[in-house]
Symmetry: C2
Subunit: 220 residues, 2 copies
């Protein structure tokens, strides 16, 4: 037996004005930018490391990392060759445009052509805060399960690209790819999808090509 | 190079009074209760299914499920034999005491001896909202990575038990158990820990014994 108790509360966003200013500044500097979101442990930092390895020789890349505490992720990005800025949100479960603006103020935007913003590990709140970045990217990961589009629909609705990470674990977990894809299709038809393993490198090349295409379109 | 931008914002909690009322009601009904928290896909519902399978023959169990949308989890709990109540939070990233009170109002508390509250999939906000439940349980999962205690410290500080799920995936991922355990130890010395696989059933028995002990201590 299932009983229902509904508590609906709107998430209010007061940060769209700042997000618009950020977009203007990025555009003025011909700087293409991604807002990378995911659950904790889905592979945001691993994807950034892989991306830096492929693109660092050809592009100047800045990474802004949002975390509750520590600079583990920014350190990893810096070790992989990026200029990295750590935002410690002090308990906040997402980056908002105000935090991003402060981080951007510490960068010389004209000296980069790609900005990767690694949001806080969370499938809920980051979807409600526009940052002014050009594209929203979500990393889903195989061991999280195939029901996530159904359970976290808002996150899937405003995406421009979906990375399906940890495909090397497919033989060892119960993950019905067609059920997952059906959920994605319902929420966001025609979403660009990249099945990858950041651990093995499988599937990374199409993602890099997609991203490189956007960088070039911005700088020419 | 890593630059630091700190934005500290306190999470305010106005719900402790309601949590205290909930605790009183649970105690008056000799009803032992858990607040089960985890990242999306760490295995909250799978643990509840396993727990129901073991304890349902001996105890009367209610499950309250918090989700953004859908009743997938409550349906699974109901199918496993529980009386299940679904809270749809309408975008909120956690259950608060007010939501839980409304859900509890729909149950005859005297007719149960175990209440499992499945929080929203999130490693951040649920840690800041007391619910009045007796014990806080976190499910970490192996593929999430071994750095989670360091990156989500608040979640680990107020725990009474830690389930380490998906140990069947240990051979296929890079997970340093001693690094993980060191982080847990720093934040919460002497935390009771249960390494399990909800998929295979490995390690479930000590968890069931721990839980059954608490139920008995409450009802006698």
């Amino acid at each position: 037996m299932v009983k229902n108790v509904s508590i609906v509360e709107k998430v209010h966003s007061a940060n769209d004005q700042i997000a618009e200013e950020i977009r203007q500044r990025l555009d003025n500097s011909s700087l293409f930018s991604l807002n990378i979101m995911a659950s904790p442990g889905a592979g945001k930092t691993s994807l950034i490391e892989r991306t830096l390895k492929e693109l660092h020789p050809h592009h100047k890349i800045a990474v802004i990392d949002g975390d509750l505490a520590t600079s583990i992720d920014a350190d990893r990005a810096a070790n992989a060759g990026a200029t990295a800025v750590q935002i410690n949100t002090g308990g906040q479960c997402h980056i908002d445009a105000n935090m991003l603006q402060k981080a951007i103020n510490s960068l010389d935007l004209d000296s980069f052509d790609l900005l990767l913003v690694e949001n806080v590990g969370n499938l809920i709140c980051p979807a409600s805060f526009q940052l002014g970045t050009h594209k929203n990217v979500l990393i889903a990961s195989i061991p999280e399960g195939d029901d996530k589009p159904y359970k976290y629909p808002v996150m899937y609705q405003d995406l421009d690209a979906l990375i399906i990470n940890k495909i090397d674990l497919l033989p060892y977990v119960d993950f019905d790819m067609s059920y997952f894809e059906k959920g994605v299709q319902l929420l966001n038809p025609n979403l660009v999808t990249f099945p990858v393993s950041c651990r093995t490198g499988e599937g990374i090349e199409p993602w890099i090509s997609w991203l490189a295409g956007w960088i070039v379109s911005k700088t020419t």
